[in-house]
Amino acid sequence: MTDVMETSCDGVLLQPLRPGDAGAMSTTTLPHTPSPLGSDTGAAVRLNELRRTYGTGADAYEAVRGLDLEVERGSVLALLGVNGAGKTSTLEVVEGLAPATSGSVEVLGLDPVEDRAAVRRRTGVLLQHSGFAADLTVTETVELWAGLVTDARPVEEALAEVDLGGRADVAVRDLSGGEQRRLDLACSLLGRPELVMLDEPTTGLDPESRRRVWALLQRLRDAGTTILLTTHYLEEAEVLADRIAIMAAGRVVREGTPDELAASLPATISFTTPRGPDGPVVVPPLGAGRRTDRDRTVVETDDLQVTLTSLLTWAAHEGIRLEALDARQATLESVFLDVARVAADAGETHPSTYPASQPEDLR
């Protein structure tokens, strides 16, 4: 999270629209000719106007509705969103498990369906739900996967990395849910992938195992691996991700570094509303939003320092003591909840009405 300091924080980052992309609706407009090996440069994943529809006719349901996303090589991108936002549906297209209904998909400069063999050798996938033959042991499972990837890492090394060395001879059916998850992760990483796609890698893990997986993913990233993951743990996104994309109703509606996202909502200052001889004291406007919440006054501001200074100056001047004073930046959680609330308000009936860009009135 230190590197965000260098990034300018002005404005809210939205979908990375490139010049000339505005309004481009079809895949065919991309002048990309993949080389057989794919390129070593450029974004690791590039999705453009991606759509994915389940079923046909009256039963058709569009789970991904024009999604744009880019994952830089060597970076970690966390995809967030409420249940049903379309994270898994999107990942499955990137993984090459399902074709896009429309839009373009580029993985390591290649098409995951057309260039399947080349892409699969260089990517590692962890599905939301693990899939194991219950009767095989841990070692047998990893050995099987070692036989399925080109140039596999040693089995013991892969197991040690996810702390399963001591469970090597246990049948998969006897593993705990968290152990199965880590076994699955070991299989995903067996072929030294350049890009890994992890759908809720730490769901079901205890806090200790989760932190170990975080450490593992950080080491992978430090070694140069690109990671695209989904999670419902906002702390996980904050700890791991260089960039975070929040999905709602099949689209990315917020995108940026964790700090940029937090800066997209106003900071809040709150304190117990002071009482003078004539009742509650009303705070002057201070150039920021102001409301009362039961016995507290809440001030919202885009510039915490300036507003806080004016508030404190005013209080000192008036000789007022601000009890239980609290000043805080918006958190990723508040951004997430804001997205979820707006999406819910837009309603299931008109999901496409979700504002694709940040409302201007926050400025």
Partner: protein, 278 residues
């Protein structure tokens, strides 16, 4: 217990850049993957009591029919039909069906399909163990028959083709059956139509002409005719033919087999599901 395995931390090896990934032949890779998966499937078959019974024990039982045929070609030919029927229905058809449904239920198939392995390799690895069992059983049948005076197959290539083509067709039937089989237990019921169709076919030689005529168009009847002519040089009227004549006799049943195979493969392709119905 785990703490000692944790430290020192292994540093993950950096991802292999595309330029230094070993170049291998797609064909060799495919064989390697199919072998790895088949090996795991054999292991899983042996760990499940029912699959062990169906895949390795049941197909051996009708071999007594060959042993007790006492060198009689007619009795042995009828027995060999049962040997072939059981060798294809249980190790191949039923085993592929139940393994496919189980692996699908466990989400193993979906997980496999995220990796390098191809769909056809997954299917091949399910069918291979049973096909090998069927081939071995048919070879053992010949070996048992020789000392009792039964002939060595008149047309060995045709004999081999019969077993392999039969295994291929029953694999396709298994893939199709899996599309309407929800669980492995369910397979006991959903497999009945194909098993009945197959069993009916072997009755053809012992039925009146009209019924035999109709039944001769079923897949198992074609396979039975083929094994009779390939092993014993018997034509459909009970006469005997040599190597050259056996090819001519094989024409009609081979066409029947091909038609059923095309139908089965087409059904399988159109209905194949890789993950449980949501």
């Amino acid at each position: 217990m785990t703490t000692d395995t944790l430290s020192p931390r292994t540093t993950p090896t950096p991802p292999t850049p595309p330029s230094s990934r070993p170049s291998t032949s797609p064909w060799r890779d495919g064989v390697r993957r199919t072998r790895a998966l088949s090996g795991a499937n054999v292991r899983l078959m042996r760990r499940n009591r029912l699959t062990t019974l169906y895949a390795f024990v049941v197909p051996l039982t009708p071999l007594v029919l060959i042993a007790f045929a006492d060198g009689s070609t007619a009795a042995a030919a009828a027995g060999a039909g049962s040997v072939l029927l059981l060798a294809l229905v249980f190790p191949v058809y039923y085993t592929v069906l139940s393994m496919l449904v189980t692996r699908r239920d466990e989400l193993v198939l979906k997980r496999l399909r995220t990796g390098e392995v191809r769909d056809r390799e997954v299917v091949a690895s399910l069918a291979l163990p049973g096909t090998v069992v069927a081939a071995v059983v048919m070879a053992v049948a010949v070996a048992i028959g020789l000392p009792t005076g039964l002939p060595f197959p008149t047309n060995l290539p045709l004999y081999v083709v019969t077993v392999l083509a039969g295994a291929g067709m029953f694999t396709a039937f298994a893939l199709w059956t899996a599309s309407f089989t929800r669980t492995a237990e369910n397979a006991q019921i959903t497999s009945m139509p194909v098993i009945l169709l197959a069993s009916a076919g072997t009755l053809a030689p012992s039925l009146p002409d009209r019924a035999a005529e109709v039944l001769s168009w079923t897949p198992m009847a074609a396979l039975d005719t083929l094994q009779r002519v390939a092993w014993f040089g018997l034509d459909t009227d009970g006469g005997s033919v040599g190597f050259a004549g056996s090819w001519a006799e094989a024409g009609q049943p081979l066409v029947v087999l091909a038609v059923w195979s095309v139908l089965a493969v087409d059904l399988a392709r159109r209905t194949m599901r890789w993950e449980p119905r949501s």
